[in-house]
């Protein structure tokens, strides 16, 4: 009798595990598929699975990955932000100018973080006070940011004179390039915020039922603005990581497509668009899935014009898979 019960509960435990961690299986599936595809392509079964390859994948996606964690909070709070790509460009241009004028990299870092947070908080303020869907507001803001960027540089680019600035993203700690380290630091910080802080709990509550949260004596507008601030912080950091790595920002091309890419990472990572649901750990897996897809298609030499079509199809498939699992359980 006792054994019977134990078997039953362990089966239940496994089902519970796959339900909660289905994203892990999808991640493994995507990596296996990419490995096989690359194997077929160049005849070497190990080329995709090499450690260096994974380091490359993470480094190439560390900038969008960092923003995706911030995006997760905004989506959990029941909003969306379509302006992060152009916001990052504008913040980068401001930062580069500050470094070039003051000669201080530290001043630049502070500028990046503060202007990133400030712009996002203004956005959050307009969204909450105006009670307008964030979709519309951030669409408008993305035009404003991009236009101001292009106007300020007369559609050109900008670089930083001080070579020390490039060290921020082009240094390695042992085999690990620093951008990957920054990415995991942001992950740990945002995981902590989501799980162990009052702010994190309130962001989930607001996204799940704003009215009930407000009537629990919580200033829900402020909570939503905080979620935007968390996104703004990642945008500021991303501007520094990207700017340092390239040592240049192009007013019209830098950050293009980052909005949808980061949203895709969060959504594939199980952050529900209706708000209130999703975990930062799963979001990490969503980022890895998208990163693997992005990079493996480059390795496979897929026609550049087709890359987005394939990516879009994979995103839709992954989300449908996660959804149907959720429903079954």
């Amino acid at each position: 009798m006792e054994t019977e019960i134990r078997i039953k509960s362990s089966a239940g435990g496994f089902r519970q595990f796959t339900k909660n961690h289905g994203i892990i299986f999808i991640t493994i599936g995507v990596i296996v598929a990419a490995t096989i595809a690359v194997w077929i392509k160049n005849g070497d079964p190990w080329s995709f699975l090499a450690a260096q390859n994974f380091i490359n994948i993470l480094r190439a996606n560390s900038v969008t990955g960092v923003i995706a964690f911030g995006m997760a909070f905004v989506i959990i709070s029941g909003n969306i932000d379509l302006s992060v790509g152009s916001q990052m460009t504008l913040v980068g241009i401001i930062t580069f100018n500050v470094i070039n004028v003051t000669g201080s990299i530290l001043a630049g870092l502070l500028t990046a973080v503060l202007s990133g947070v400030a712009l996002s908080m203004i956005c959050g303020f307009i969204v909450t006070k105006g009670a307008v869907p964030s979709f519309i507001i951030t669409l408008g803001l993305s035009y404003i940011y991009r236009s101001l960027s292009i106007f300020s540089l007369n559609s050109g680019g900008i670089t930083v004179g001080d070579k020390a600035f490039q060290a921020i993203s082009n240094t390695s700690l042992g085999p690990i390039p620093l951008p990957i380290l920054y990415f995991f630091i942001v992950f740990l910080l945002y995981f902590y915020i989501s799980k162990y802080t009052v702010m994190g709990r309130r962001i989930y509550a607001v996204g799940s039922n704003q009215q009930a949260t407000r009537l629990s004596g919580i200033n829900t507008n402020w909570v939503k603005i905080q979620a935007f601030a968390l996104l703004g912080l990642t945008v500021g950091l991303a501007a520094v990581i990207e700017g340092s790595r390239m040592n240049s920002i192009n007013s019209s091309s830098t950050g293009n497509g980052y909005d949808l890419n980061t949203i895709a990472m969060a959504v594939v990572g199980g952050i529900a668009m209706e708000g209130g649901k999703g975990s930062i750990v799963n979001c990490l897996f969503g980022i890895i899935i998208l990163a693997v897809i992005n990079t493996s298609m480059t390795i496979l030499g897929v026609n550049v014009y087709l890359v987005n079509a394939i990516k879009g199809a994979i995103i839709i498939f992954a989300v449908l898979l996660l959804r149907s699992r959720g429903k079954l359980n």
């Binding site: 902590y192 162990y196 802080t197 009052v198 709990r201 309130r202 989930y204 509550a205 996204g207 799940s208 039922n209 009215q211 009930a212 949260t213 407000r214 009537l215 629990s216 004596g217 919580i218 200033n219 209130g276 649901k277």
Partner: protein, 504 residues
């Protein structure tokens, strides 16, 4: 005697738990037959079997003498069974007639919608059941009663012979309930329709139904005729006793207490045109009832106290200080709590667990440095689970997995943890079964004894009568009367809440 419906020996189990045990129910044609029981008694399961939503394990269903077995809701519908669910399924942005035909629109030839025919048929149905609603009105502009009546009229339109109504009057008060029942009465007497009526409101059951069937823990307790042989009506307490298996309605909850000093005073408060110059005082340890019919302004009044509505004139004084809460967050800091109406929209945070729902008001209390300490949260949640007798397997379960009564206790707990000086309870027992209702009344009484000033708003005269020291009655934004406990009666409340005066 002709039966519209006979269900015999119905059994149903969910994963090993028997939720219906050999249940029999017979409903006479043309009757309004009530089905009552606490949450979890098996009412919904039984009705879902009848409506073709769930299959039964064993048993027999006879509809007008013919044995039937429905594999889907559509099959049940075809045989003339209409199931009107508790939640209103009307579309606010469509006119009445389009709501009536939603999904079955009449067309003329090439897919064009035949509005005229739909309006004519709607008028016809409304006339048959004596309903006075403009078929071209937008549903948004209708009150809750009319929306409910549209739902019922829909089933008449599609020739239902047996209508199942699942708690159709939960959100209605006094006259509105009567309106809905008048329509139901017309249906049964003029149209020969039979109605199965599920309700928690025993007053309505006794007043309007012909028979009542009581279920408890999945078993049939009894079916009784409402008018006894000697002509007297069955007592509500009799039904309640059958539902819970013990004497609950007779339990005296109220206890006389010494009241403290004035904690809150409201002077000439106006809220737009909803509240017109209301003044009153609340003492420490007092339970003050505010009652009235729909549109009386009581919700706007307490909303203003909680910072959810903005007073246009007047003053609110708490502990001698004038306060102006701009939002609920301000009210919370001032020591005012609110248990709102409509739990699902206003009080439940569905994505959070039972514990997290309980601690949402007091999050700062569990913080050490920046970090929330899970252990502190769990400890307090355990404590209030015990104190409020909340039935939940694990506190980490989502709140939506609980029954209505237990959800309400969780909502109450989140404010009790915050230890407010003033607690406002709006419809505290809405959608709560009899057993949990009494537990909530006891809790309110306990709170009052601890010195909390309590305001209870309710549309149910019985409720305020049961627990309040004093009751204010409102009518269209005016305070029409103030009744001390000794003066309380359903009659006096009804007179004042319809704009009359007690004429002394």
């Amino acid at each position: 005697m002709e039966y519209a419906l006979e269900m015999r020996g119905i059994n149903k189990s969910f994963s090993g738990t028997r939720v219906l045990k050999d249940v029999d129910i017979s409903v006479e044609k043309g009757h309004i037959h009530a089905l009552v029981g606490e949450n979890g008694a098996g009412k919904s399961t039984l009705m879902n079997i009848l409506g073709g939503v769930l299959p039964m394990d064993s048993g027999q269903v006879l509809l007008f003498g013919e044995e039937v077995m429905f594999s889907s809701p559509a099959a049940a519908q075809e045989k003339g069974i209409a199931f009107v669910h508790q939640e209103l399924n009307v579309v606010n942005d469509l006119p009445v007639y389009e709501n009536m035909f939603l999904g079955h629109e009449l067309r003329k030839g090439r897919g064009m919608i035949d509005a005229r025919a739909m309006i004519t048929q709607t008028v016809d149905v409304f006339k048959r059941i004596h309903v006075d609603v403009d078929p071209k009105a937008m549903v948004r502009d209708l009150d809750a009663t009319s929306k409910q009546i549209i739902e019922i009229a829909k089933s008449v339109l599609f020739h239902a012979k047996l209508i199942i109504l699942d708690e159709p009057t939960t959100s209605l008060t006094g006259f509105e309930v009567e309106n809905v029942f008048n329509v139901m009465r017309n249906l049964t007497s003029d149209q020969g329709v039979t109605i199965l009526f599920i309700s928690h409101k025993l007053g309505e059951v006794v007043e309007f139904c012909d028979k009542v069937t009581v279920l408890r823990n999945g078993e049939l307790v009894d079916t009784c005729v409402m008018t006894k042989a000697d002509g007297a009506l069955l007592a509500q307490s009799d039904i309640a006793r059958m539902m819970v298996g013990k004497n609950v309605l007779d339990v005296e909850v109220y206890r006389k207490r010494e009241l403290g000093e004035v904690i809150l005073s409201v002077e000439g408060l106006h809220v737009g045109s909803a509240v017109k110059g209301v003044s009153f005082e609340l003492h420490k340890g007092e339970i003050l009832g505010i009652t009235g019919l729909l549109g009386d302004g009581k919700n706007e009044l307490v909303g203003a106290l909680f910072g959810d509505e903005h007073p246009t004139a007047g003053t609110i004084t708490k502990d001698g200080q004038t306060i102006r809460p701009k939002r609920p967050a301000d009210a919370r800091k001032l020591g005012i709590g609110l248990l709102p109406t409509n739990r699902k929209e206003n009080a439940i945070i569905p994505a959070l667990s039972v514990t997290d729902n309980m601690t949402i008001v007091t999050l700062e209390d569990y913080v050490s440095g920046f970090t929330m300490v899970r252990g502190r949260e769990t400890k307090i949640a355990e404590q209030f689970k015990e104190r409020l007798n909340i039935k939940v397997e694990r506190l980490s379960d989502l709140i939506v997995s609980l029954s209505g009564g237990n959800q309400q206790k969780v909502v109450l707990a989140k404010w009790l943890i915050a230890k407010p000086d003033i607690m406002i309870l709006s419809n505290p027992t809405q959608g709560v079964d009899v057993g949990a209702k009494n537990e909530i009344y006891h809790l309110i009484m306990e709170l009052a004894q601890e010195g909390v000033g309590i305001i209870v708003t309710s549309g149910e005269a019985q409720e305020v009568q049961k627990i309040c020291d004093r009751v204010l009655v409102m009518y269209h934004g005016d305070m029409t009367g103030e009744l001390e406990r000794e003066e309380l009666s359903e009659e006096s409340i009804m007179i004042l809440s319809t704009g009359g005066s007690l004429g002394q």
